[in-house]
């Protein structure tokens, strides 16, 4: 089963590397399709590759990546246990926000990755990622600060997921208050993924 999923994800990654669906292809050094465990229950979805990611072709490898690794530890998880990708697979020039047309062009790759992995939990990292999943699930998106930290049962493209929106690690890098919030959300991820104890922590002390 894992080998089949791995092969499907590699095929998607190849398509991403050859992709010419939007103008971002002209700026990329390397496309960043995503990487991780094909048989995981947890998929983390960021916004777009940054400078280091573009150079290496891997998601979350810079300072924000180091923080993400720390946050995964808070959840009792490691990078090897999850799959990490972005809404947009190529770096927008100057690290600007991805445009709606670029997000739309990349959406089929993300949907195909989720279909292949069939995770139980999607963690949307930041505003763009969360807004996309809210739209797919037919929910109204207000702001990331309003919706973060609450798990929603969502369904789209024929599958059901638990969606946990949180802040983008880059936003929490230099702001201790935001870092506290995102750590709280990752503790919740630990509970959801079975690494924590959820409701039982109150019911059984």
């Amino acid at each position: 089963m894992c080998e089949v999923r791995k092969a499907i994800l590699e095929r998607i990654a190849e398509e991403v590397r050859r992709c010419t669906r939007c103008p971002l292809q002209a700026y990329r050094t390397r496309a960043v399709p995503g990487e991780g465990n094909p048989c995981t229950n947890v998929v983390l979805v960021g916004e777009a590759p940054g400078f280091n990611e573009d150079l290496q072709g891997k998601p979350f490898v810079g300072a924000a990546g180091n923080l993400l690794n720390e946050l995964l530890k808070v959840a009792g998880l490691s990078r090897q246990e999850v799959f990490i990708t972005n809404v947009v697979k190529c770096r927008p020039p100057g690290n600007r926000d991805p445009e709606d047309s670029e997000i739309a062009a990349c959406e089929p790759y993300l949907i195909a990755q989720l279909k292949a992995i069939e995770p139980k939990i999607i963690v949307s990292l930041g505003r763009h990622s969360t807004r996309l999943f809210f739209r797919l699930a037919g929910l109204d998106f207000s702001s990331i600060m309003q919706v973060r930290g609450e798990v929603r049962r969502v369904a789209f493209n024929g599958s059901e997921y638990l969606l946990l929106p949180t802040l983008h690690p880059a936003a929490a890098l230099y702001n201790p208050r935001l870092r506290g919030l995102v750590e709280e959300d990752f503790r919740l991820l630990g509970e959801l993924s079975g690494k924590g104890r959820g409701l039982e922590r109150w019911l059984y002390g």
Binding site: K120, S142, G149, E150, L162, G198, L199, E200, L203, Y204
Partner: protein
């Protein structure tokens, strides 16, 4: 294994099974000499259902072994129960690996479903106490949650000395529903300490919009930033109880 139990009203049983299905798609009932029980967490481990129906609630209740596990898929079970008519009785029988459901009205219809093996932990009895206890009509609670759903996907329960408030807030607006014993909207109300906590409306609505048909009265219990408990008394005896984890404020 040989088991047989009969319940007076098949439709009541259907409502009960639909209420369990708000939390789990499949689960094991535990049947012993005293009662039929089911305790299960939802896949996200945010909500729990705890069912207890004593043998006295059944017309007949027969079990040969000291304890039997009955693993069922609720989708399949509910499809059968939806075929029940107004005055049908319902009889469950287990022989070997099959689960027989008999809807007994003017005619007797016998359905047979496979028992399924469910691997899962047995959950101990929850140990939790609450600072606010309110008894109200389940329909009233359901209406308030429907109102709140128009505003937000989170709802806050605030228990003050003489008033229980249900509050929803978002960019779309604000809802505040007030309940009090004096106003007649609370049948009983006990506040040990004023308390407030927020909960996910998607879970709450799913639970209450099904369970309100099991019982006209619901007991709501909570404490500050602790789980919410909703208890529904089953006609003829027994309790259907839910626990829901709080949404902790940032």
């Amino acid at each position: 294994m040989s088991v047989r139990f009969e319940f007076q009203d098949a439709r009541d049983w259907r409502y009960l099974m639909e209420s369990l299905n708000a939390i789990v798609d499949e689960a094991s009932f535990i049947m012993d000499r005293e009662a039929l029980k089911l305790r299960a967490l939802d896949p996200s481990r945010i909500a729990m259902v705890d069912l207890h129906v004593p043998r006295e609630a059944f017309n007949t209740y027969e079990i040969e072994e000291s304890q039997v596990k009955i693993g069922v898929n609720f989708d399949d079970l509910i499809k059968v129960l939806r075929r029940a008519k107004a005055e049908d009785k319902i009889i469950f029988e287990i022989e070997g690996r099959r689960f027989r459901i008999i809807l007994a009205g003017k005619a007797e219809r016998v359905f047979s479903l496979p028992l399924i093996d469910i691997v899962g932990e047995e959950l101990p009895t929850p140990k939790v106490s609450f600072d606010v206890i309110a008894k109200m009509l389940s329909d009233t609670l359901r209406d308030s949650l429907k109102d709140a759903e128009m505003i937000s996907d989170t709802v806050r329960f605030v228990g003050e000395e003489n008033v229980l408030r249900i509050i929803a807030k978002s960019d779309k607006g604000e809802l505040e529903a007030k309940f009090s014993p004096e106003g007649g909207s609370l049948i009983e109300y006990d506040v040990r300490h004023p308390s407030a906590a927020s909960y996910s409306l998607s879970y709450l609505d799913d639970i209450v919009s099904r369970a309100y048909r099991v019982s006209e009265i619901v007991t709501v219990e909570f404490s500050t930033n602790k789980p919410l408990s909703l208890s529904f008394e089953i006609a003829g005896g027994g309790t259907l109880r839910y626990y829901l984890a709080p949404r902790l404020e940032a």
